[in-house]
Structure formats: C-alpha cells, structure tokens
Point group: C2
C-alpha cells in the first residue's frame, strides 16, 4: 500500500482536556487522535501537531499530520475520525501532503485570539471561551502599550518561568486590539511564540487597562527581560489558536 | 418586607435538560431556578415562565417571574442566582415589575430561530445548536413554500399529535429564511405557537428543500389540517427561543 502523509485541520473546545500534547496525567487531544487512528488503521500512528496548546486552550484550526501505509483517501480519514471523536473535537479538513511536509517544522507562523469580557454579565454561550473581568478597562491605554511589543524583540519577560529554549527572540508581526461593547479581542500574529507568551502579554496589558501602569512602561518591561516585571498569566479559557501559516 | 414581582431574562443551553417545565422524569430549567431561589430566600418560590420549551431546546432570552417578600434588589437576585446556577444556565437581566405582570399571560408574542447546517461538515462550536443535514437544500423553494404559512391560519397540521388546545388558529407574523454558506436560518415571529409547531414547520420545509414537494403543496398541507400531511418534527437541538415580546 502507498505511504501517505495526511494533514488534518482540527478544532477543539479545550475545556475538558490537558492541552494538545500527550502527557502522563490527564487526557490530551493528541492522545485521543492517536487512539482513534489506531482503531481506524489497526496500527499505532504517531500524530505530529504544529505545536502544543496549554490545558484549557481552544483551537479553531490546529494543524497536524501523520504518515501511514493506506489506500484510504483523506476525506475517508476525516469521516472515520469524526465518527469516533468526542463532540468537542472535530476534523474540519483532511488532505494529502508531500512527504516533506511536517506540521511543526514546515510552519511559518500562527495566529491566536484572546477574548476578555469586561462587563458585569457574560453570556453563558460565550463564557467558556473568554476571560470574564467585570470591570471597565481603558482600551486605548492597552492599544498604546501594545505598540511597544510589535516587531522582533527578546520576549524573555513574557515567557513562563522554567522554560528552556535556545533563544527568546521572537517576531510579533501583529497585536490588534478591538472592542465591541464589553468584548475585547486581542489578535496575535507571529512567526513563533514562547511558552504562555500570549497569556502573559494579555495579563500584562490588563494592568495597563486598569491604569496601574502608564503605556510607556511596557518598553521597560520588555527591555528588562524579567518575568517578574510583567503581569499575571491570563487564564487559558480565553485563548484560541485561530490559524497556522505554512 | 415588601412583596416584589421580579422578572428574569434567562438564557440556557438546553442540551442537558428535559426542557423548561418541571416534570417527574428528568431535570428541568424551572426546577433548577426554583431550587436556587429556595436557597437564596429560605422559602419555596414558584417561578412562572413565558411558556414551555421542549427537551433539548435552547433559549437566549426566556422570560420568567416570581413574587416574594424581600428587601433584596433585582440585581442581587441576578448575582445570587448566577453564583448558584450551573454553567449552562444564566440570568442575563433581572428587574422589578408591577404586580399585574405575568410572564405567560402578559406576553404578546415570541421569536424563535431554527438553524440547519446543510454541508458535509459542521463545526463542533456550532454543532450543539444546529440540525446537521449533509446535503444540498433548495432554499428558494423553501422560501416560496414558507409564504403560504405567514398570516393568521389554522395550524392544526403543524401541531404535535395528542395536543389538547382550545383553538389551533395562530398568527404567524414572520417566517424569514436566510442562507450563508451551508448555514440556513429560519426566524419565526408570532403571537403564539402550537406544541412542536416551529419544529414541524421546519421539518416540512426541508421536504420542499429536497424538492420532494412543489412549493404550492404547502397550501394543501396547511388546509388539510392533518398532521400526517406535514413533514417530520425537526430535532430540538436546532431550536432557540430568541425573544419574548410584552
């Protein structure tokens, strides 16, 4: 049978999962996909994601690939997976790729969305996907502070402590903040993100929204490269992986 | 303590409930609200809804009222209820009304939305709120058939069998069908609805969408007053109570 490389676009509500990557304590998206593929193909299949998502983080379009000797077409894998997957995980697309495609190493960048609801009440339909802050935030102050972060910088101040990466320099090409009524949306685009980077940036921006810090201080925080200078880590349920670029 | 009439606007994901109204087998929204109000006030409180919703049906703005001797303000009831209610039920508004207000008897009409996804794949974020039909539907044919239903008619053909009401004449002021990609939305507005009426109308319209019937046949079905002539009852998960008019 021919060896095929299949690329999947996967969406999930992260609420009930310990993130993407297989780990000993708790159920993960990757683990569930591999178990379903084992049922379908009768063999162990390794699923490679574009990268991890934290426990509780959602995805509208996570990308993954696997290689398997099969006569099955991608759309048949999609249908078979969707019939086996739980209701909070879905495969929205499946297609064959060349064998040099790798969900993680071929990617060029990612887009994340973080959502805050700054109002006394948040709808139960939105609640699982937002950070509810029942206060008024100064959105203009957050927008001004955010301008200091766009570009190629050492984001060491916005990395979870205890991380171990070669370099903490990353290119943030976009950080767009929009508001509609109490809903504040932060869209991040970049070539790469450090561990918890989006959530720590949002947690820090909220301090500017509360006017605890003047917008210009964002430059000092960035240049300090000190996690202690940045704000708290915003909760995972407000974060969603929107797109992976190739 | 003064006697107060409190009006609540309630939203819920109906998936895990046996509808609005208290019944012996299974948990209902009304029952949960009454239990929470008993915890808050220390006494049994009867909650009156604007009407029933079927098992599995959602609501963005169900309306209910209760009367209680209390010094608590409406917003305090809202906060107390929201802290006790499960995550799939929320009180979005609470206000004091005059004592002649009655959620059911003061209402002037209702708006319902039914959603179909006519595409091979439906997003897991939408799935719990739609009827997934992985086929192509002729939306123009459904729109034409729908025109026969708008107005004041005897809707006996579109009533669940075994119902027992004084009259089956109802005024349907609006039946608007819109399509965006595979998502087809049906908005119903009227002074009153028979049991399962919206779902039977949608199930019947789908037969026209599949071109099993010519649009003009809708007139015959309506005039037959025969439930057997109409189509199947569309599943409850696609239905949402959008608004109650007073």
């Amino acid at each position: 049978m021919p060896l095929k490389t299949i690329k999947l676009i996967i969406e999930y509500v992260g609420t009930n999962y310990c993130g993407w990557q297989i780990q000993p304590n708790g159920t993960t998206i990757q683990e569930i996909l591999e178990k379903c593929l084992e049922k379908i193909t009768g063999e162990k299949v390794k699923v490679h994601g574009s990268g991890r998502t934290d426990s509780g983080v959602h995805a509208e379009a996570q990308v993954a690939h696997f290689r398997v000797d099969t006569r099955m077409e991608p759309v048949q894998f999609q249908r078979a997976l969707n019939s086996l997957l739980p209701g909070d995980i879905g495969v929205s697309e499946a297609e064959e790729e060349s064998h040099d495609f790798h969900a993680q190493f071929s990617q060029k960048g990612k887009r994340y969305r973080y959502t805050i609801y700054a109002s006394p009440y948040v709808s139960i339909f939105e609640y699982p996907f937002v950070w509810h802050l029942p206060y008024t935030l100064n959105v203009d102050a957050m927008k001004e502070a955010a301008t200091y972060l766009v570009g190629r910088h050492d984001f060491a101040a916005f990395q979870a402590s205890g991380s171990d990466v070669r370099t903490t320099v990353r290119g943030l090409t976009k950080l767009e903040i929009t508001q509609r009524d109490g809903k504040i949306t932060y869209v991040f685009e970049g070539s790469g993100f450090l561990k918890h980077m989006v959530r720590i940036v949002v947690g820090t921006l909220v301090d500017f929204g509360f006017e605890k810090k003047k917008p210009g201080m964002m430059k000092e925080i960035l240049e300090s490269k000190d996690r202690q200078k940045a704000g708290r880590t915003a909760p995972s349920q407000g974060l969603c992986l929107e797109k992976v670029y190739y």
